[in-house]
Amino acid sequence: MYNEIYKNSKIRKPYNKIFDWAKSLPENVIVKKKNEAESLFKKIGITFSVYNNFNSTERLIPFDMFPRIISGTEWKKIEKGIVQRAIAINAFLNDIYHSGDIIKAGLIPDYLIYKNPSYEVKMIGFKVPKRVYSPIIGSDLVRIDEKSFKILEDNCRTPSGVSYMIENREIMMRMFPELFEKLKIETVENYPTYLLETLKSLVPKRCESDPKIVILTPGAFNSAYYEHSFLADLMGVELVQGNDLFVDENVTYMKTTKGPEKVDIIYRRIDDQFIDPISFDSSSLIGVPGLFDSYKSGHVNICSAPGAGVADDKAIYTFMPEIVKFYLGEEPILENVKTWKCYRYQDRKYVLENLQKLVVKEVHGSGGYGLMIGSQATKKELQLFKKKIIEFPENYIAQPILSLSTVPIFSKNDLSPRHVDLRPFCLVSAKQTKLVSGGLTRVALKKDSLVVNSSQGGGVKDTWVINE
């Protein structure tokens, strides 16, 4: 197990100052600051909503004030690796919705793509604006040892959490301004500006003037609603719901107090199937009838493109190294976590023989569904998964049970190690691919737990990239 703050039982350089600072804090300061921070979060309204009848309880994501630190050198590698991957992902999407060269080259079995539930047949042959399918990519990284960050998964549809990255920093700056004077911490506050530039560059074919950009949200009851309104506010664009938009003769408009106003670019935070009840799920009440036709006729751009999700599918994930090499002719800078593909005989044999040492994942599952951790599974579960793997090998992959790195958290008046991961947010515009120096660090607050999801007791930390 790798503890990020130590090297040979000495404090590692990036953590030196912060460790001394944390150790020198008078007792109870953290408890006090924590209360202060929580009331700030509540006041600003950074909450997740849980509704039941009258009582809407609004939950805060637990925030730990010991920062996660990444050195400038480490960050450079992460940045390069993420940018490389984001470019490859978009090239891959462009290929599989057109000529399918990577399939013809025999690198990926065709059924893994064409039969993938996230593959959108209606997108075949359509030229998306600037060939950018997925302009916002949030890849989850884990650190195994001092040397290597590895990519655990990619999120190409509508990754969330970026508002926490920004607000966590705001809170830290208000709580401990002295730290920001002493240390050279890279800022993350440019993210909304970059996001706006990125969206602005992705103009559809039939947009003659300055593009009108909106964010499309499922509504105030969505758990990420705060993030949607936060981004709209910081970018100065309208936050719309499906019924604020309508399509007339393939042109998309929003209803305003001045009458209809043409919309050119939609940053949608709703899933593919809900976008348009005419073209997709007809029971969708949050979509816009006719929007997909408006999109395909080049009047409006939808970001990310429908069908972009196929690239973050777990079955495709296993091919990322090949995808990077195929389109960029480069070796991947960031490695995948070692993955066994059960449809391959050798892999399957290994998996079946070593189930207890592995995490088995259903390829289309997400959010912890269809997942089995071998070391914690009962005999019955092991048997069940064995059977499933033999029956539908192409539906399963397996990975070693990862020991995520740890970073201390403030626990009572002491420091105590907890497992963390990292999600940087990469932006792909028509001209460039970039990210702000930072990301969202999620932390498992329960001792020894490896689950960092906020729905299961996870919290967040501010993430600092410090240039030495």
Binding site: I44, D233, D244
Partner: protein, 319 residues
């Protein structure tokens, strides 16, 4: 501005005004229940409170008979009553939450914390009748706080106009309805003129819209009579609860919107006609026309103006 944003702003302000009006109505009810020997009097009063807020049928469906504790609970906290103060504040907050970024952080905080405090109020209230004065005070304070924050912190742009319009459409409607429910006590009657009953009823009515003292200031210590009350509640520009006051505000803010958007609206021309008509009216004319008829047609007209406003600004389609 997005049509829905305008609509959410309008309705949040409208719900806040409604909560305020209800609190004042309840205050009168409470006052009357403290006066001895008015057993039948207070029953009538509670009934007319239900009528004014337009929820008498709903109440009777649930509770069958008039009981002051039940009515108070119904008006304050009952979630099944769409116009309870609780639901008004809840709706105001939901509307603001939908357009969180169209208001300042201060306005959001004022509305948001009212809502959270209300939840605490509900769970801590043991005896609604006994604690009514504190609860009413609290509601009025919250409303004033929210409104003050709007005045002090909002940009004076189109969003501000919609907030103010929501307030005055609600107020115009409410004042008209409260006079209408009580119009019979304003009728000149040989038996009543100058009697104790008259004075009592009139003062209660003035109190229900918080204008008792204001009336005294406006008309001095002269004898109260119904013509003066009609004048005060309908035609007096200095009384913030009078109909003409609300009409003037609606006229002003609709005018601002037509200039701001450089587009005319039917709502604007209609309210302008109404305002000009009101300026020429006097209380005797209204009395001759028949107060009840006058109010009835006012309530219909102001609603028609609202429909025009809705069509123009909230539906987002060209006319």
């Amino acid at each position: 501005m997005l049509s829905r944003t305008a609509e959410n702003l309008f309705w949040s302000a409208r719900y806040i005004e409604r909560a305020d009006s209800l609190a004042r109505l309840l205050e009168v009810g409470y006052r009357i229940s403290l006066i001895p020997n008015t057993e039948s009097g207070y029953i009538n009063e509670w009934e007319s409170i239900l009528e004014t807020s337009g929820i008498k049928d709903l109440y009777l469906k649930k509770y069958n008979k008039i009981s002051k504790e039940k009515i108070i609970f119904f008006l304050l906290f009952d979630s099944e009553n769409p116009s309870s103060i609780t639901n008004c504040i809840k709706n105001a907050r939901e509307n603001i939450r939908m357009v969180r970024t169209a208001v300042t952080l201060e306005v959001w905080n004022a509305v948001n914390s009212s809502y959270h405090d209300l939840e605490i109020n509900i769970t801590q209230t043991k005896n609604v009748l006994k604690e009514l004065p504190e609860i009413i005070e609290w509601v009025k304070k919250q409303v004033n706080l929210i409104r003050g924050t709007i005045l002090n912190t909002q940009l004076i742009n189109d969003g501000y106009d919609f907030l103010i319009l929501g307030t005055y459409f609600e107020r115009a409607d409410f004042t008209a309805r409260i006079i209408n429910v009580k119009y019979f006590i304003l009728l000149p009657s040989v038996n009543y003129v100058g009697s104790e009953v008259d004075n009592f009823q009139w003062s209660m009515m003035l109190r229900s819209i918080s204008s008792f003292r204001a009336f005294k200031w406006a008309y001095g210590e002269e004898e109260i009579n119904y013509i003066k009350i009609i004048d005060f509640l309908i035609l007096n520009m200095t009384c913030p609860r009078s109909l003409i006051f609300s009409i003037e505000k609606i006229n002003h803010h609709l005018d601002r919107l037509t200039k701001f958007y450089k587009q005319n609206s039917l709502a604007k021309s209609k309210v302008k006609l109404m305002y000009n008509k009101f300026k020429k009216l006097n209380a005797d004319t209204i009395s001759d026309l028949g107060l009840h008829e006058f109010l009835k047609s006012f309530i219909i007209d102001i609603d028609l103006i609202y429909r025009e406003l809705e069509k123009k600004y909230f539906f987002g389609i060209n006319q």
